[in-house]
Symmetry: C3
Subunit: 396 residues, 3 copies
Amino acid sequence: MADLQKALQTLQSLDFSKMYEGDFFLTWEKTDAEIRATFEVAEALRALRENNVSPKIFDSGLAISMFRDNSTRTRFSFASACNLLGLTVQDFDEGKSQVAHGETVRETANMISFMADVIGIRDDMYIGKGNAYMHEVVNAVAEGHRAGVLAQKPTLVNLQCDIDHPTQAMADTLHLINHFGGVENLKGKKVAMTWAYSPSYGKPLSVPQGVIGLMTRFGMEVVLAHPEGYEVMPEVEAVARANAKGSGGSFTRVHSMDEAFRGADIVYPKSWASFSAMERRTALYGRGDAEGIRALEKELLQQNAQHKDWECTEERMALTKGGKALYLHCLPADISGVSCKEGEVAASVFDRYRDPLYTEASFKPYIIAAMIFLAKVKNPVEVLRSMGDKSRRLYE
Amino acid sequence: MADLQKALQTLQSLDFSKMYEGDFFLTWEKTDAEIRATFEVAEALRALRENNVSPKIFDSGLAISMFRDNSTRTRFSFASACNLLGLTVQDFDEGKSQVAHGETVRETANMISFMADVIGIRDDMYIGKGNAYMHEVVNAVAEGHRAGVLAQKPTLVNLQCDIDHPTQAMADTLHLINHFGGVENLKGKKVAMTWAYSPSYGKPLSVPQGVIGLMTRFGMEVVLAHPEGYEVMPEVEAVARANAKGSGGSFTRVHSMDEAFRGADIVYPKSWASFSAMERRTALYGRGDAEGIRALEKELLQQNAQHKDWECTEERMALTKGGKALYLHCLPADISGVSCKEGEVAASVFDRYRDPLYTEASFKPYIIAAMIFLAKVKNPVEVLRSMGDKSRRLYE
Amino acid sequence: MADLQKALQTLQSLDFSKMYEGDFFLTWEKTDAEIRATFEVAEALRALRENNVSPKIFDSGLAISMFRDNSTRTRFSFASACNLLGLTVQDFDEGKSQVAHGETVRETANMISFMADVIGIRDDMYIGKGNAYMHEVVNAVAEGHRAGVLAQKPTLVNLQCDIDHPTQAMADTLHLINHFGGVENLKGKKVAMTWAYSPSYGKPLSVPQGVIGLMTRFGMEVVLAHPEGYEVMPEVEAVARANAKGSGGSFTRVHSMDEAFRGADIVYPKSWASFSAMERRTALYGRGDAEGIRALEKELLQQNAQHKDWECTEERMALTKGGKALYLHCLPADISGVSCKEGEVAASVFDRYRDPLYTEASFKPYIIAAMIFLAKVKNPVEVLRSMGDKSRRLYE
């Protein structure tokens, strides 16, 4: 159970005033106090909901969702967060094409926002495009608001872009905070963010990048492990290094899964495509080169197949701190012998961590709701405090 | 107009306490008091709505819908019921495949349920699978709740499975209760649940099974009529026989539409595929045998075509009690000369019963709402009584 | 900012009592007072929303949307309007076929309306069909209500038919009223509703028809301009002529874009297919003649290509009153060199009018909300006056 009073007490000591009427693009664009405030508001909202208190802040209002990639978990998390706060989700489906840019984005963003309080976007398929698209949308609605076209500027929530997956990394970290009994207990913990083999290709980079870009802020020893050829974006590695320096932790990169696992408190084995492969794919899609895409896919699958030994096995888990590292995954995982022949994780490992994995995922709706709450409520502490007696259940 | 006071009075005398926090799979898993309570709550909700009183019980909350088959009527009935009670529907579309089982179901069920109060599932295509899938989902979320992953266990409403179609059979029966002026007046009425010719194939068995499994509980004389080769599941026939014995009614099976219609108070002529054909089809789908499916379809259509005389004609209607039996159908019907060349019912018969048919269908949203209400409200009588002065229309 | 008090004052002087429990098909079926009342209620709702007052009139309730053609703007406008008033939108997707008619419409309309307060329909593809379909739906639910099947008769809002696009034309006109500082200032203004070249074919006639059918009511000088062969429906031209006579304005038709633009206060250059081409297309679709449709499309594109000079250029804009006519478009526009090689409007013209264009579009949600409000609220003035202190934001 989340602790409302503790969350409110911490919130009172933080300066997060700039989040009001803001947007959430990348975690590293936020101050430590802002990141912390997001965790605390998430915990406060969770405490309220667990006590069947309604944290609705809107009597009416729309939240627009744009998913430019398939999604179940994030879609439902966004829907849950919006419902919790009193917003109705209206889906905007423009297909998965990357055609809509420039003038079209400007126009569409305004056309769907006349009564929108929030816009949630997932656009993770194309390197160099997803985050840029989100900025295009925000610039367009900010301009629309200035020009008097929109009565309000909707708040953007980045539901996964090509660079970061802030709602995922924040949910993962809030899970760690709860698991280890406080954000201060993350200091010194070793986390292994490692590549793992998958029989599918082209998984986005935003999860490993989001993790190294965020977890380095809490004094943790963050190790990024992957075979050669699976590099992530250098800018994000730079962020991780700077974060580590600032927080008194460390960020290292290795090419051995064993090395990463050794002594780790937390492991996050997960497949991704390399940055350079994603760049090539983005260019191929841009040219509509179907044959090139097929050839690249074949090449990447062959490349993956050379690293089938990058699996989170019982043997590897035994290398971790006391053999008991906390296993993380954004789900769904490629489970060897279950969802595929050979995959990211051994079935027995996955199975042992099922409940914590589901708990990890359960933080995401609250993280999203906290991001919206902080952008929409001027006095979060006061408002959260006053919500205590309004039941979500009108009748018991 | 529904009578709120009468419904509340009856409810007070019934023990339905076990429905609280429960699920609704099959009508024959419920006691007579529980079935009766569902009818009475449905009538109470209808009375409130007809008087523009809002029976909202949730300030916020999600209802997840999973339709593993096309649906208009049931989809809108579910949406209506949820809206009436204050829940927002979030659709989960995983396609119509039967691939999702085992681990995947467990995970998905939890991932979509973090803030779900209700899950409504329609899964009627595959014999031996639909009801089992619903149990898998409920087991998964119950486990998730026990493990602390979910703050609440969502309630399952069976929106049609391979065995039963409880919301349809309950709506049909509530229509009879209203038509004949009380549940006590159903005693001794003869109802003919009969197969009818249709130029399409593979219609689910859950409607005839739902009807014989439920209507035998009220002392009615239930006759199931179909050509040889169109048998329903033997387990459900056993349920019908046991019900009839317990209620002082009867359950018989005949192979003549005329015999079933003779002296009937109620007729329900409707096409379905045989249990054994559905078993074969399920196996073919399981193997992905497209050619086998096409061959089976052809065979079944030829088999159907031998029974074009199984039509609800004016001549057959003349055989019923006073020539005036109440005609039932779950809709849409295959109307001869209207929606197809030769079908289940003559156009003139269908046309005469249009208003009662639409009224029959209109009970379904209230039945679904009653199922949810009884699972979510601890003291239904008290709550329904206290709802009298809150208008659904905030302004007139 | 909209002015609530001014809107309420005007409303008090108007008789719009027949709109209560009514439907909205075509603007010319409404009296001047009813049209005016719709504008004033839209402005009142806009004023409330701009002050963060909630104009919810429903605690629960459904609005059904049927889009028989693609739509982003109108879909979001409808969703926004319904959310503003407290209704939940449930989409009914039956595909874009024109198969559903007769008995099927009657049945479906009732099946989806058990708890529907509003039905919004877009059906603009087939000449002679769209408006007729809407009447079929309304007749079916009116009959269902009379027969006791439906507890309420849902209100129809025409979201675009083959004849009129009332929510668009009303939003366009409300934009003019705001731009020119009052409906009385429209008198004598010259508006050029002119055809423009587009590289796509088959754009609906409902926009030009809606505009000439509505704007002729305010004493404006309405000029309809198009090349020969792009005639609109003669019935609507007759409406425009009669309107002009009644309002002291004029309605003329010319075959020169320059002539239309000369001295115009407002220009509305927009492509459409000719009435006779749409009639031929409707017949081809009715017969399922795919080859005929392709041949017609080719022919129409060739016909369009002969009129590439019908573009809204800077030169043409210079012909308008002071070179500063207000440019209108329902969006999206075919912008030369931006969304297509050669199109309806020069990029520099479009760009200069971007903000007013977005503002024009922003009135549509309020127009739709006003149509619903007037059909659902018996005493609009009283209710709007009493709404002043209920915030849409439950917490600031």
